[in-house]
């Protein structure tokens, strides 16, 4: 909840992107050694138009463009660090064991969002950030020799012009109308142990539009701030 309030203030005051990362305790992870290789899994983006009535209408072009720009943006930001990350597209491997690991990663990611970034906490996870996909993640290493993988997921909506008009009208009479918002999450997984060593979620500011190359790279920079890389 706090991130949303923070985000709201931020939107009003400066229009910046906000994020707050979760990091696994040092004893749960092996440190990321300098120069070690990683995989940047091709980002997934699900973006939609928010219609006047609040229905979300998927936009294939926005989703595709954002996925491409985010891949480039993350690569550019990661290149500034000491770890070479190679972009891999695993979308063709959704069947079989690899697919199962990828699905597990999605499920764990959703759970982290719910219980680490939402209002509720799981009693069993109260002590700290402690999530793992299990050693099945070794499958994803293939012959790449990579020790880590970075997963990036974007979700979001933009209001249609009609809805923006409605917002203005509704504001005058005091009726609250939710408008579009976009979130970006990134998860760094140790492929040797399956441990999620770092997870961050950002609420995009209006200036950082992931449908453009510049916006996507700015978002990538915000999300990666404080990553153990």
């Amino acid at each position: 909840m706090r991130i949303w309030l923070l985000a709201l203030c931020c939107l009003v005051l400066a229009g910046c992107t906000t994020s707050r990362a979760r990091v696994a305790a040092p004893e749960l992870t092996t440190p990321v050694t300098a120069g070690s290789a990683g995989l940047l899994v091709k980002p997934v983006a699900r973006l939609a138009l928010l219609t006047v009535a609040g229905l979300t209408e998927r936009r294939d072009d926005w989703s595709r463009d954002a996925a491409t720009h985010l891949a480039a943006g993350f690569q550019a930001e990661l290149a500034k660090r000491d770890h070479p990350f190679n972009l891999v597209d695993l979308s063709g491997q959704m069947e079989g064991r690899t697919g199962q690991v990828l699905r597990l990663n999605e499920a764990v990611g959703d759970t982290i969002q719910t219980y680490e970034f939402g209002a509720q906490r799981l009693p069993t996870k109260a002590k700290g950030f402690d999530w793992t996909l299990g050693e099945g993640t070794r499958l994803l290493r293939g012959d790449s020799g990579a020790d880590h993988a970075l997963f990036v997921t974007a979700r979001g909506t933009w209001s249609s012009p009609g809805r923006k008009v409605l917002l203005v009208g509704a504001a005058i009479i005091g009726t609250p109308i939710p408008m579009g918002s976009q979130t970006l999450s990134a998860s760094l997984v140790d492929l040797r142990t399956g441990r999620v060593i770092w997870y961050n979620q950002a609420l995009a500011g209006p200036a950082d539009d992931m449908r453009t190359p510049e916006g996507a790279q700015a978002l990538a920079a915000s999300v990666l701030k404080g990553a153990p890389l």
Partner: protein, 424 residues
């Protein structure tokens, strides 16, 4: 629970009724269509692509290549123009359903195949789904929902303006991210908003019924066109209705009426009548033709019958399961297997008299050559419960002979020991 109970009720909602004949200029989508990027249709396709990816990894996905090829050939026979672009997945789900997504991925549920009496019945339902695809109904429905949603919201906001004037303090709760704050704006406004909502809903159903009736009609024409019996269309609908009426649960039985909330007479009757009218003067199959078609279709689904029946019992609507088993028995084949599952349904329902019905069913099952080994195990348990130790011992011993490698062998052996000790 809700999913189980409403399983068949859902089938009704999916179909709607057949009221009007299609216009002569009904335009079908062209083959191998690709929507323009950025269009709402392209968005639907992208979402459908994702759903397809998930379906392909689903544990429910049937992997039998013979069954897959059968359904694929049937669909290609019904729609040669789309054969190259339709991707067919058979899902092991005990519900009567089939879907055709706008991107061309088709799900056919085992519950539909189990409930089809003949290939003609299955062909009709698949023809119905292909017609939704051919007429791009998903896109049309989305466009209508969008327009209707907009109108509904406009009315709601209009109503709220009045209410807010009177109750400004409530409205100014300041929670920007709570979309449901309209709910707090007083009872009067709430009632009016509800009316607007229900009106939107009624329109939704009315429009949806038009597409459903069109799919009904076009599906029947499509199947008839390649030689299937047009009377199969009203027939499968009638059997589905009868199965719903046989449900254990009053809610499910009532669902037939509930689907017609904005209508004056039962949806199912409308639909059956329309399909009968459309079948018109086509002569009914002779008893021999009908029997031959039933037997041919049974031969195709026979390898899956046991698994599908077991799944159906898991829905825990045993009234419906028993009704379904009776229909399957009417073909006069697989009687040992069907009697075994009839016994299982009675045993699991466990109401007054059910245990003795179960015992009778197991006893009947083992008189048929196709009785599964489990029939002897359950017969043994039932005889033992009824106090017939010698019969129980005989049945359990037969089970061990017929299923020598079964995992529960040790359990049955110890049971036999106890039975023999107490009996001698």
């Amino acid at each position: 629970m809700i999913r189980t109970v409403s399983a068949l009720a859902l089938a009704f909602c999916l179909w709607g009724s057949a009221l009007a004949a299609p216009a002569a200029d009904t335009v079908m989508r062209s083959a191998n269509l690709r929507p323009a990027s950025g269009s709402p249709e392209a968005g639907l396709w992208q979402a459908s692509d994702e759903a397809e990816t998930y379906a392909r990894q689903s544990a429910d996905l049937d992997s039998d290549p013979v069954l897959g090829a059968y359904v694929r050939n049937l669909i290609c026979k019904l729609a040669p123009e789309y054969c190259g672009e339709l991707r067919i997945l058979v899902m092991t789900r005990p519900v009567l359903n089939a879907t055709a997504a706008p991107n061309g991925y088709v799900e056919v549920y085992s519950g539909l195949m189990l409930r089809s009496r003949t290939e003609s019945e299955l062909a009709y339902v698949l023809g119905h789904e292909i017609s939704h695809f051919a007429r791009n109904h998903a896109l049309a429905q989305w466009q209508r929902n969008k327009t209707r949603g907009n109108v509904t919201l406009a009315i709601q906001v209009g109503v709220s303006v009045v209410a807010i004037a009177a109750m400004a303090s409530v409205a100014n709760s300041g929670d920007f991210y709570a979309p449901n704050k309209i709910d707090y704006i007083g009872d009067a406004a709430q009632t009016l908003s509800d009316l607007a909502y229900i009106h939107g809903l009624a329109t939704y159903f009315a429009y949806s019924r038009e597409d459903e009736s069109e799919a009904d009609r076009l599906g029947q024409i499509r199947a008839h066109g390649v030689g299937y019996d047009p009377w199969a269309a009203p027939a499968i609908w009638q059997s589905v209705g009868a199965e719903v009426r046989a449900s254990e649960y009053p809610e499910v039985r009532k669902s037939l009426a509930r689907a017609t909330i904005f209508d004056t007479h039962p949806l199912t009757e409308d639909r059956i009548e329309a399909l009968k009218r459309a079948a018109g003067s086509t002569p009914h199959q002779t008893a021999e033709e009908s029997r031959a078609e039933e037997q041919a279709y049974r031969a195709i689904i026979r390898p899956h019958l046991a698994v599908w029946l077991r799944d159906d019992l898991r829905r825990r609507d045993l009234g419906q399961s028993l009704h379904l088993i009776s229909r399957l028995e009417a073909v006069g084949e697989d009687l040992g297997l069907l009697a075994y599952y009839r016994g299982e349904a009675y045993r699991q329902r466990h109401r007054d008299g059910d245990l003795s019905s179960a015992l009778a069913a197991y006893r009947l099952s083992i008189t048929h050559a196709d009785a599964p080994a489990e029939a002897w195990r359950e017969l043994g348990e039932a005889e033992s419960r009824a106090g017939n130790a010698p019969a129980a011992i005989r049945a359990l011993e037969t089970y061990l002979t017929r299923a020598p490698g079964s995992e529960d062998r040790w359990l049955i052996e110890s049971e036999l020991e106890t039975l023999k000790a107490s009996h001698s």
